[in-house]
């Protein structure tokens, strides 16, 4: 299906205009992060001089490195927790037959009807009563179990031929070994997709880290950015933008690398 030339021109025009509009807020921020303050105040688009002062300032005046490390730890721990728990649950739903499986599957579906925001008050009390405020445990543990991840992996485990499971039973291979040596390697693509998705959403989490941290020890970078924005004087936009750019860089890179896989995986998990 090739388009006539004039249609092609229209498409490229629309695509370019849309891309400019959509990417503008990020590009403006990126450009501002390299501007000296007087450039920003005078409303320039392109900096007169290129400076890294804003980046130096934000790391210097602010425990940004600490926050980045916290976010990295939190996101990786949540990602691993979700992968382990979702894959174990998906394995049970696909390869094990037992009484009550359908009821349990329904319970998993039911969890999608409970928004985290609606249960945040008791969750905060739980974390506080356990003494988990300002700990990585408090920041990560509530997010390990995940119905969406379980469904996504269940979809992919279903592609694995049942004959393999039967053969492994005859050969006397146990379920745990079958799960580790056959199922997980065969579902690598879906695991990567879920991992990227889990990392992205955890890195960008906002409400829970706001509640579960009260000091800088385990504070994540999103809440750090909130602090930066409210503490900095409003005429220091360059510094704030430098902070924001640092915050989005890891997830943007991850997204650019994994966009194709993510798109396919999310559509599969969502629509099957």
């Amino acid at each position: 299906m090739t388009l006539p030339k004039y249609q092609k021109v229209i498409f490229y025009l629309l695509l370019t205009v849309s891309a400019v509009v959509i990417f503008a807020p990020a590009v403006i921020a990126f450009s501002m992060s390299f501007m000296p303050n007087q450039d920003i105040m005078s409303g320039r688009i392109i900096p007169t001089t290129f400076t890294l002062d804003n980046y130096v300032a934000v790391f210097d005046r602010f425990p940004l490195f600490n926050f980045l490390l916290n976010s990295l730890i939190v996101s990786v721990v949540i990602m691993i927790g979700q992968l382990v728990l979702s894959s174990l649950a998906a394995y049970a739903f696909v390869f094990l037959e037992f009484k009550g499986r359908d009821i349990l599957f329904f319970v998993f579906i039911a969890t999608m009807m409970v928004p985290f925001e609606a249960s945040i008050i008791p969750n905060f009390q739980t974390i506080r009563d356990m003494g988990w405020i300002n700990t990585y445990t408090g920041l990560t543990l509530p997010f390990f179990a995940m119905a969406f991840g379980t469904f996504l992996l269940r979809q992919s485990f279903k592609q694995i031929p049942k004959e393999l499971k039967e053969a492994s039973e005859i050969a006397g291979i146990g379920d745990l070994k079958f799960y580790l040596t056959v199922v997980l390697p065969m579902a690598k693509t879906s695991l990567v997709t879920l991992g990227v998705y889990g990392f992205l959403t955890s890195w960008n989490m906002y409400l829970w880290p706001l509640l579960a941290t009260t000091d800088d020890t385990t504070r994540t970078v999103q809440i750090g950015l909130r602090q930066l924005q409210s503490q900095e004087q409003l005429n220091e936009w360059g510094v704030i933008m430098a902070g924001a750019i640092i915050v989005v860089l890891p997830t943007l890179i991850l997204l650019f690398l994994g966009q194709k896989k993510l798109q396919k995986g999310l559509a599969e998990g969502a629509l099957k």
Partner: protein
């Protein structure tokens, strides 16, 4: 001789039945074992909090959130007569009304554009999906500047066009619209990605046969693309609804619920009530209202989507 056979057969069946029962019990335990980590965490952080929220909503609480006096449905009566909460509900519904159609229409437009097989289309796809990788906090910072009364680009643009400046985040008439615009931008990436996936799974022979019949571009869009995309569209619309009801971050960063509570959406209201005013009981009643809204939306999604749609 025949008696003996029967006896053996009987024993054998009995033993067999026992073994089968044992086997079943074993497989039950194995199944539960694989599911146990998820079940425990769902119980602690999802089902228990749900009932606890319901329980808390029937009580007055002290500053630490411990229950003091049982008040029955008084909290509900109080919130539904409180102008602040009613305002919050109104704001939430307006916010949903602005953001859901906005997000879906713009994303659909982008997805249709990016679905063409053109050279370099991959770059556009990546750019359009990019807002998915930008966190609420960072996106809010970007928009905070764009909305800035004097330095912000939006007002500078208006000034160049000879239009009077707008107090994007400070004018009560504009604040919710501004927050909605930034929210649509934040949600575009994800919605675009899902819709593009839906478009790409439409069988290309449909278009080929339409081409043979000489159908125009817009005819194909209306008669093939949109109908074939409807399950995906339906999914995207429900997810957008649910997301809109759960909005918090951009309100916290951009307006703190103000001016004059014009952007005080329900989750922000719950947050204020529970963690600023320490009224865990009243906040729980609000949380139950939010839960019921989301529950209804999810049920509609399951019912109409015939369980085709699964999402968190």
């Amino acid at each position: 001789m025949s008696d003996l056979t029967v006896q053996i057969d009987k024993d054998y069946t009995k033993e067999f039945g026992k073994a089968k029962k044992l086997q079943r019990l074993k497989s039950f335990f194995k199944g539960v074992l694989f599911l146990l980590p998820s079940i425990i965490l769902f119980s602690v952080f999802l089902f228990y909090p749900l009932f606890k929220t319901l329980y808390l909503s029937l009580f007055l609480t002290d500053a630490s959130g411990a229950t003091t006096v049982f008040v029955g449905l008084d909290n509900y009566q109080a919130i539904f007569t409180s102008p602040l909460f009613l305002k919050s509900l109104e704001v939430t519904f307006l916010f949903v009304l602005y953001t859901v159609p906005g997000t879906v229409i713009v994303s659909l437009f982008l997805a249709v554009l990016a679905n063409e097989k053109l050279r370099g289309i991959g770059i556009f796809r990546t750019l359009f999906s990019s807002t998915m990788g930008i966190s609420v906090a960072a996106a809010s910072v970007f928009w905070m500047f764009l909305f800035h009364p004097t330095m912000g680009w939006l007002n500078q643009l208006l000034e160049n066009l000879g239009i009077e400046a707008i107090g994007w985040l400070t004018d009560p008439d504009w604040a919710l619209i501004s927050v909605s615009i930034s929210t649509i931008w934040m949600n575009l990436g994800f919605t675009f990605l899902i819709l593009l996936g839906g478009l790409q799974s439409i069988d290309s022979y449909l278009y080929e046969s339409a081409d043979i019949d000489g159908a125009s571009y817009f005819y194909k869009l209306r008669r093939i693309t949109i109908p074939m995309l409807s399950p995906t569209l339906f999914f995207v619309i429900t997810v957008s609804f649910i997301n809109a009801f759960q909005t918090f971050g951009q309100v916290d960063m951009l307006t703190r619920g103000g001016p004059q509570n014009e952007t005080n959406v329900i989750v922000y209201s719950i947050y204020q009530e529970a963690f600023r005013n320490y009224q865990h009981g009243a906040a729980s009643a609000q949380a139950i209202v939010l839960f019921i809204v989301i529950l209804l939306l999810t049920l509609i999604q399951f019912k109409l989507g015939e369980r085709k749609v699964h999402y968190q």
